[in-house]
Symmetry: C2
Subunit: 350 residues, 2 copies
């Protein structure tokens, strides 16, 4: 996707120099900074500190981490040790385990002399596959948005934009490129459909600001709102559909996603607004019967108490809530399957 007028992925490599570059997302939306690293430990730190974030992206980042490790040593022992370190850098993310495991399965059967070239090839291929998968999600989601546009035209609202509400960041920053929930929105915009996105702030980590930033870079009209406002906007008829991503989808189609998704699904249901979940098909976890069985991570309360922002000249952190207050910070919630209108995957619209 575009930053300024230049095309960027969130992560890429230089196979000749054997370096990996990525956009440092901890500084967005205030500072756009690209980090170039040469050692696997830099990837471990980038994942742990959330310089790279988003389930699909950190899976690919971990693969590049393995490639950097193989540059140093290509023994089974060393690669396996690095694999464990990478997985531990953010233990709750399923994709991290997936990315590392795929690299191990590719490299360990090979003779050590072939591992270096194979590692870079495999990591790069994983990045490319993520992009292709998301492009397919874009195409499948676009068909739904086109139908909504036709409905709107029949209601003599052809001049109004198609208003889409999203929660959290499931854009290209959460993937290698294109995004999941935002993929159909970019596709619609590029197809000349007049779209406008309501961007939930997404407390406590404010990922909505990443969403606003990437929409702005791509020229997609959007408006930032507090998480509290979405229900009111739906009551006012100002939302044509919701599209969100997913962290895990149970066998019965209950969706685990960023905390607050459930409230938006309730409001959509109450106001007859379609509620779409866009995610690659590997997000469906058939080993989990229903949402009740998903363990919801409580994250550090500093995410709630402290705010990072821009203080005229530099990025500053202020304490917004007395640290003496007891706080609770559940990171995800479960949206019952009954509240979801469609799933958009790279394979189909379910």
């Amino acid at each position: 996707m575009k930053v300024g007028n230049q095309h960027f992925r969130t992560i890429w490599c230089d196979k000749t120099q054997m370096t990996v570059s990525f956009i440092d997302q901890t500084q967005l939306p205030f500072v756009f900074d690209v980090k170039q690293v040469s050692h696997y430990i830099d990837i471990v730190n980038a994942i742990a500190s959330m310089q790279v974030r988003g389930a699909p992206l950190i899976g690919v980042a971990a693969a590049f981490g393995i490639a950097l490790a193989v540059k140093e040593q290509c023994s089974d022992d060393f690669i396996s040790k690095v694999a464990q370190t990478l997985i531990a850098s953010r233990p709750t993310a399923v994709n991290l385990q997936w990315g590392v495991t795929r690299m191990l399965n590719t490299l360990l059967p090979l003779p050590t002399s072939l591992r270096l070239a194979a590692a870079w090839l495999e990591a790069e291929q994983m990045a490319d596959e993520d992009v292709k998968q998301n492009q397919q999600i874009a195409i499948n989601g676009l068909s739904l948005l086109k139908k909504l546009k036709v409905t709107k035209e029949k209601l003599n609202k052809a001049d109004e934009p198609l208003n889409i509400l999203t929660h959290c960041n499931a854009g290209w920053l959460a993937t290698v490129d294109v995004g999941t929930a935002l993929a159909p929105i970019y596709a619609a915009h590029d197809a000349g459909i007049n779209v406008h996105v309501w961007v939930d702030e997404t407390r406590p980590r404010n990922q909505g600001l990443l969403t606003a930033w990437e929409l702005e870079q791509h020229g997609v009209p959007h408006t930032v709102i507090v998480d509290n406002a979405g229900g009111h906007l739906m009551q006012q008829g100002l939302v044509d559909c919701c599209i969100v991503g997913a962290d895990r989808i149970a066998k019965n189609n209950d969706v685990c996603n960023k905390i607050g998704t459930y409230l938006k699904a309730l409001a959509a249901n109450d106001n007859g607004v379609p509620f779409y979940v866009a995610a690659p098909s590997n997000t469906f976890d058939l080993s989990i019967e229903n949402g009740d069985m998903i363990d919801i991570e409580n994250r550090h309360v500093n995410e709630l108490s402290d705010i990072k922002g821009f203080d005229e000249e530099f990025t500053a952190r202020v304490i917004k809530i007395n640290r003496s207050s007891r706080m609770l910070n559940p990171a995800f919630d479960v949206t019952p399957a009954s509240l979801i209108t469609h799933f958009i995957t790279e394979e189909s619209v379910l």
Copy 2:
């Protein structure tokens, strides 16, 4: 209510010195500061800058503003001019108009020689009436909480606290004393009932931090959460009831309250959690048929983009959202009557 171990109202006067004192709420929860003022213009500024806030409180503050004005001049012209300035200090608040009108109705029929003493007497009486009304809301709401406690005991959950979720600040800081939504909670705590309050952060103005502060001062156990988390907690069975205040209640019982109230009412309904609205009976506006007719105020987007917090040594403001982003900041929403279990007023439980 208590600050430290000392009893405070949010506003009070010294009739001998003819001064008015109030807690400066713009500095809470980080700094507790009492301002003492002698001129009506200081009250105008305090209301406009939200040093005093909350519908019941600003009505009484305006009454004290008139009393300070009469100290300077007691002519019809001057009093009426000051009345207009006070009403304009926050044009959307109904109680402000109510407080000023009541003072004018009391003072203007009197000979000028009697106006000064009458002004201070009337303003003080309005403050006292607010407190008495809220004490009655406390008693009426307590009866509901006692019933919930009995239900919990029958389910062998006598050892668990009664978990109450509230949105925004409808505590004693929003009134002269005691509060509205928090009044029954304080009453339950003082009656020895084991209560615990889930405090919504309440973006964008973060009034939840005022709620947390006053609960902490009074020793009521509580936990601050982001607005996104309430639905998830209800799904987990961790909320026994919700209590919120109200800004206006239509003839059909639709409730206009702080933005985000509607989403919590939907989640309460979806999870069988009682949803109570606590408000003085003058909040019922019989001139409004239903919630659709209530005009929702869009406030300045700087409330969304900028955050005020504590920067180790001093209170600081950071820009959290690029000011170049388009933002929308609706301040209230409407909760349909069908989602409300009970109204708690000073007159009864409806």
